[in-house]
Subunit: 262 residues, 4 copies
Amino acid sequence: MTVEPGPPLRIDLNADLGEGFGVWDLGDDAGLLEVVTSANVACGFHAGDPAIMRRVCGSAVERRVAIGAQVGYRDLAGFGRRAIDIVPAELTDEVIYQIGALDGFARVAGDRVRYVKPHGALYHAAVASPGSAGAIVEAVRRYDPALPVVTLAGGELARLALEAGLAVVPEAFGDRAYTADGRLLSRRVPGAVLHDPREIAARVVRMVTAGTVSAVDGTTVPVTVESVCVHGDTPGALAIARAVRAALEAASVALAAFAAGP
Amino acid sequence: MTVEPGPPLRIDLNADLGEGFGVWDLGDDAGLLEVVTSANVACGFHAGDPAIMRRVCGSAVERRVAIGAQVGYRDLAGFGRRAIDIVPAELTDEVIYQIGALDGFARVAGDRVRYVKPHGALYHAAVASPGSAGAIVEAVRRYDPALPVVTLAGGELARLALEAGLAVVPEAFGDRAYTADGRLLSRRVPGAVLHDPREIAARVVRMVTAGTVSAVDGTTVPVTVESVCVHGDTPGALAIARAVRAALEAASVALAAFAAGP
Amino acid sequence: MTVEPGPPLRIDLNADLGEGFGVWDLGDDAGLLEVVTSANVACGFHAGDPAIMRRVCGSAVERRVAIGAQVGYRDLAGFGRRAIDIVPAELTDEVIYQIGALDGFARVAGDRVRYVKPHGALYHAAVASPGSAGAIVEAVRRYDPALPVVTLAGGELARLALEAGLAVVPEAFGDRAYTADGRLLSRRVPGAVLHDPREIAARVVRMVTAGTVSAVDGTTVPVTVESVCVHGDTPGALAIARAVRAALEAASVALAAFAAGP
Amino acid sequence: MTVEPGPPLRIDLNADLGEGFGVWDLGDDAGLLEVVTSANVACGFHAGDPAIMRRVCGSAVERRVAIGAQVGYRDLAGFGRRAIDIVPAELTDEVIYQIGALDGFARVAGDRVRYVKPHGALYHAAVASPGSAGAIVEAVRRYDPALPVVTLAGGELARLALEAGLAVVPEAFGDRAYTADGRLLSRRVPGAVLHDPREIAARVVRMVTAGTVSAVDGTTVPVTVESVCVHGDTPGALAIARAVRAALEAASVALAAFAAGP
């Protein structure tokens, strides 16, 4: 594939941050803040507490990393990974609550919440279920219709957010295998999660520069991506995140948050 | 006493609202919203949940009642009535979190949080302890230094808030006995809480029009009051709140929130 | 139908108790304890707290009412009415935790937990889903295989409990309409919930003495019942519970807990 | 000092275990279970969840380690390190709840709770405050008066437990400096916490074999000790715990739980 000379390519890197709670730590917030351009900050429902939120927001602003609300189910015991059959109107309220709480710390740090991304089981519900997706869309629309949502391209949240006039930031995963129809291969299938930093970095560069990924059956699949999700909850994950950033920089891709600063 | 002709007297009536949680109700929010001019809305730490907060904020805006953040300790099991020995910096974070969460619903309803009032054990700690008072002042100052705090005149919160340049709204209680030095008589002392609506209403009118109250020893004591706190968690309490409002109106006192609307 | 002279009929009446939390009350525990023979006591996950559990267990033992563990999802905010997609092994642990906690108070009161009944969304999941039912069965089997489970006849919990050698106590509802195939009519269908105390009491007497109920299409349907569930969370509900008890006594049905005392 | 020939010396080693919550880990439970003879298992109020409790109880029984209830304030956000001003009667209920919940898992694992030890701020409150100490004593007395309590010698909990007829197991800390009057030096004083494994191990051996410790002023102070508390929440702490055990074994001190098995 030949890339025509054009505007320099640019991509956002996002990661989950602030996922500890009280005495318990999770992930390397400081390490990730040196890699990403957008921080999905947990808001206290599935992880995160006020002190952590204040610290992460402060550090993010110092490093010019955009703050996003990583909203989840009210489920500290299950880290938001258990689907909860909550009625959509109440889910809307719970999402507004979380965005507002984080926005308080973002404002105190001199910035504000710039996007919304659901977490865990709510992420999956928002991709698959119109009820869950619609509840999140309604929360964002009411809170601030200028806030983009980060989600998988082609899912219910992307569809309903666009219908409601919200901006949608499609994200991709360098460490996940894709099916021939462009979906993520289920984590339960062997080989669904990649571990080699160089391979992952190369996949991300290809996604961003060529807009394609090699699916599990070897076919080339188009990928719509404006943000790449990286992880940092293990030493290996942080090394991968760093490798992804370095490879993008080596490929002359500009790293920049999709959401404009204040 | 002769009241000189002057600007018409005006007072704020505040009450705690939105103190249910999930399936559990507490108090008569609808009834109180017809009486008060300022609503202290629980923010989810000692009471209140996102659905309740959204409903109360919506109703308050409809009735032009000012929304205040009723911040408390993280203590659903104890309704915020148990003092918790939290370090001040963490208390500051917990207060910011609560203000921000409520502000989300206030904004969605078309208004915003207009003041802060601590609840329960935090109310008492803020009056008595510089550490607790300072933590609340710091939260308000960082979140929005234009927000007034509602508290007892003469306490630590009033003192430190004024020092920090915050507006302080001194409040009084029509249903509580006062000591000769102008403090509230402890609830543990017989006679500390009054129950007769007419007596309470008359005391409030005197506080507002004459700036005095009759102490337990019969002496006349000055009272500084810009807001009167009423309760609504029992049928009797709501009747008292209504009697207070009616008596103030009969005395030509204007009822108006101290905090300007949007 | 002719009832052959035989052993006197006997039935258990169960109700949900101890469903407040902290400052919040729900239902009339004292009133219900004069009506029922078995108390489904909430264990702190969807409702109930240690002080309430201690009080209800003490009162139940005084009145010779059997104590059962009303186990639910960890969901105070949703009162256990939201289905939570928790993996069965973790659900087993959560059920064991709740039984153990309640058993502490039952022992302190001089008795012990005598049966287990799931609550809310977990009740429905246990009837419909082998995974949820199996998790509860496993918890009871490990904790004490002599404990019966109370559930709808014909559901997954009844089936798997019997397979595991547990005793199953089939329960029926006097205030719910039944379909022609013996299932409960969904609450969403008009007429699904009955409100007339006399009608409800008559239905219960017929269920117990004749083993049948009149379905919504007018057909007569067999009902397997060893315990009748009554409610007490509204004044009307308590009146119905009392009417049911009075009608059963008038029909010479003995009211007795299915679970033997200590 | 000359040690008279007598019965072989024996000591218990206890440590806090099961202090994670949900996705969050804390400490090295597996490592500690190879060192200690008694496991203080968190019961879900300040740390610990049902799955963790089940796992730790199972492992403890496999290794013949005694299970104790590490009871704390209801304070996940503060890890039980914040003193909470709860009325004693409610604290009694909260302690009973926690013991009962853990006892469920101990029984499922084939053993039962064999002792009670308060955690964090409750530990300190129980040493210093008759109200807190009495509440814990009352809980243990009602739940099972045969259960010993582990606490500092000379504190309120030790005093009131003995008065109530409970067994008291006095514990000592090898890694803490002692004052000349036999109390722990406040953590806020430099030098209050020791870090050298060999020094700590030697101090513990001296405490156990000679019944004395060298205080900060150099004087020799008597120490009453039937259990030594070790920590395992950092790699260094686990190394210290192992050094303590090795040194005791080298000194021919038998390591054995104070609480008899089933």
